[in-house]
Symmetry: C2
Subunit: 225 residues, 2 copies
DNA sequence: CTATGCAATTTTGTATACCAGAGATGCGTT
DNA sequence: AACGCATCTCTGGTATACAAAATTGCATAG
């Protein structure tokens, strides 16, 4: 999409990965000079990269005050999860209608992978497999624009979403929900698949309170922005 | 969101307006040098602005080959309308549940405005009022993230959406649909409001063919990207 | 007359230098 | 001792200069 120069593109990908995987945490300062030295390029491509990331919402830059990894407010977090749930629901609905058999078989394999990892109570490994399962459904909707939009929101929520699974019992519950979603998609029951996915992703009531309770300091900023 | 320098921000807004309002058409070349001369600034803020616009998808830049106003493929157009319909449907659903009375009254006024303009068969004036009506519903969903996402997609579709209303009879039909949507929102019937909005925005079957038929040359590019 | 290849020009991508604004720090005054 | 103002420094914003790549046009050969 944002096709900048080669150096800048590389930087975008590296920084994106670091942010999504949690190496860089919300609130971390991204100094242009240090970045340019660290990567051995001038400030220009660094600025372009930060610009691009700001466009996708992963970082926030205040004029004359520098750039930081985007930290969002509680209100925004709730809003974004609300939208995320609906986008994924749409993916699931469309996937139920459009996903070819061979891809469904692949989806089944990914679900099995999740189940296998769930036994070992390794939240991080499960998280990775979970991402693959969800991405397979994004791809199944056969709407690459929707797929991009969904991934974009997912990336922005990644630092927070990762925390969810560290709640005791959540991994098991998540895995059970996968089974139901999978069967709905496999049976072509679009509305059911959508509804299940919506509930799977939405963070409401108790779950929201639990999530907010374990969000580290600095991941959220006060409402006054 | 993308807080760049003052000059760059100005440029973003100007170019955005020109693209959304159709002054700049899909496929138009955006030369950095001419733009910098035209606005009396150096190339740097121009590049930043183009970068930002590329991030939001309004322009496309190919490395070493320059930047043009984004022209999308038929496939993308269909995909984007599909997502747009769902985003607006979500706005309508939430608006039906959350919109305060006073805002609904305002929405009624906007619908009346549309009706009044519809009589005069002035497609452009109707288009503007139509935008205000829809934006009031975006605001009514009380989810500013969803509002931003929706507006972003809407902007990208603007050059094509504008064409829709020039189809004979479409304005009248659109206006009738507004009335139904309005009453559903007013009555708090979320699912109905969503469904109506989805159908209102979606471009399917005959309507899609009609739209494609009147899209000017250059607005669409061949599928091979 | 056409096609291919080379060269020149145009335009983008990168680096660097310069400028301006915001925050920090220290000194003076009350 | 505390508050306020001024200055100083650090960081971002802008301009410009330079390098690399792509397109275009012309020339030459088939």
């Amino acid at each position: 999409m944002a096709q900048n120069g080669k150096l800048a593109t590389d930087l975008v990908q590296k920084l994106e990965r670091d942010i999504v995987t949690g190496v860089l945490k919300p609130g971390d300062k991204l100094d242009e000079r240090s970045l340019s030295e660290r990567f051995g390029v001038s400030r220009t491509p660094v600025r372009e990269a930060l610009q691009t990331l700001a466009g996708s919402g992963l970082v926030a830059t205040m004029p004359r005050r520098g750039t930081i990894v985007a930290s969002i407010t509680v209100a925004e977090l709730i809003e974004m999860f609300e939208v995320m749930a609906e986008l994924e629901a749409m993916c699931a609905r469309l996937a139920a209608r459009r996903m070819p058999r061979v891809d469904i078989d692949n989806l089944i394999a990914l679900a099995d992978e999740c189940s296998a990892l769930q036994e070992h109570a390794d939240a991080d490994a499960y998280y990775e497999a979970n991402v693959r399962f969800h991405e397979a459904i994004y791809a199944g909707c056969r709407n690459s624009f929707l797929e991009r939009q969904t991934k974009n929101v997912r990336n922005r929520l990644a630092p927070y979403r990762r925390l969810q699974l560290h709640r005791p019992g959540r991994v098991k519950k998540s895995n059970n929900e996968h089974a139901d979603i999978l069967s709905a998609i496999s049976n072509g029951e679009a509305d059911i698949a959508g509804k299940l996915m919506q509930q799977h992703v939405a963070v409401q009531g108790e779950a929201l309170n639990d999530l907010l309770a374990i969000v580290p300091r600095g991941y959220l900023e006060p409402l006054a922005s």
